[in-house]
């Protein structure tokens, strides 16, 4: 059982430094679960909350590369149980009824929620999220490794597998931006040609076209 108060990092004023404070441990409502957070990646997207953008209300706890363990489940939660290792990324919930959700395009939900913007995120000892936002974490991954896969990793992996390239074709990577760490390993181990390496470059510089 959780304690009554927890450590959390908050944005209290747009553009101001984060504040580390004690706030009440949140309780999961219907369809929600509470996570005991073990790790949360630090992403450039956290600047949106920090700067009070995208309609965020303050105070707000940022963080959307969350990895932890389910600590409590709310009413109506049937497929998740206390003790499961789970992660939460940018996509923090969707309505299921809008035009995009009805087509299975949940990321473009017109009422999409973003973890650490629409509600408090993972820069805290606990957070509460809708069960829709939960991803199981395999035992082979540590929490520290799993956290960044929830945003940087999924963005790169999803972009790669939806880009239209097929196995054996040349894919070039450009830059060492935020999604870089997981991507580097994907490139080397996904069966893509080694000459992808020729396109590797420093951030902001021009890349030479990869050749087959």
């Amino acid at each position: 059982m959780a304690t009554q108060a927890m450590r959390a990092v908050q944005v209290t004023k747009a553009g101001a430094p984060f504040v580390c404070t004690d706030i009440p441990v949140p309780e999961p409502g219907r369809g929600q679960v509470r996570l005991r957070v073990h790790a949360c990646g630090v992403c450039g997207g956290d600047a949106i909350a920090r700067n009070g953008l995208m309609g965020v209300t303050l105070p707000r706890t940022p963080g959307h590369e969350v990895a932890g363990v389910i600590d409590a489940v709310g009413e109506g939660v049937t497929d998740w149980r206390v003790g499961q290792r789970v992660g939460v990324g940018w996509q923090g919930g969707y309505c299921t009824t809008c035009e995009f959700c009805r087509a299975g395009d949940f990321v473009n939900c017109v009422r999409a929620q973003v973890v650490g913007l629409s509600y408090d995120g993972g820069y805290a000892e606990y957070l509460v999220v809708p069960q829709l936002a939960l991803a199981r974490i395999p035992d082979e991954l540590s929490f520290e490794e799993a956290g960044p896969l929830m945003c940087a990793g999924i963005t790169t992996f999803n972009a790669l597998r939806n880009c239209g390239a097929r196995a054996g074709e040349t894919v070039a990577s450009h830059g060492i931006g935020g999604p870089w760490p997981p991507r580097r390993s994907i490139r080397c181990q996904d069966g893509l040609p080694n000459d992808c390496d020729k396109s590797r470059t420093r951030q902001g510089s021009t890349v030479s076209p990869a050749r087959r």
């Binding site: 450590r7 580390c20 957070v37 790790a39 991954l141 990793g153 972009a159």
Partner: protein, 108 residues
């Protein structure tokens, strides 16, 4: 033109991304997963039309995509390279994000 079926751009720098279009083979796609705020890419329409090339954007995914990302990491032995910092140091960790090798992660 070049020979890449796809170019994944992780560096939000519009001038470099403009140049990358030359690296696409016919039917190739430039996929932006980072963008320079307020800056436009300059694209020759002919380079897109003749050769059916494309410039598209991407970000994130839903929870099942995240599960598949972690499953792929296990399957292929992929691990992100991270450095950990205590939650109490969140401010300094955020400010120094670009110096991390390679992803900064707060631990509780």
């Amino acid at each position: 033109m070049g020979g890449a079926a796809a170019i994944i751009s992780t560096a939000g720098f519009a001038a470099a991304q403009t140049d990358l279009i030359q690296g696409l083979r016919p039917s190739g796609r430039l996929v932006l997963i980072a963008a320079e705020h307020g800056a436009a890419l300059q694209v020759q329409g002919e380079a897109l039309q003749f050769g059916r090339r494309g410039v598209i954007g991407w970000y994130s995914g839903h929870a099942k995509d995240s599960e598949e990302t972690t499953a792929f990491a296990v399957l292929k032995g992929i691990r992100p390279i991270v450095e950990t910092h205590p939650l109490a140091n969140a401010e300094n960790t955020f400010i120094n994000m670009s110096k991390a090798r390679y992803r900064a992660v707060l631990t509780m």
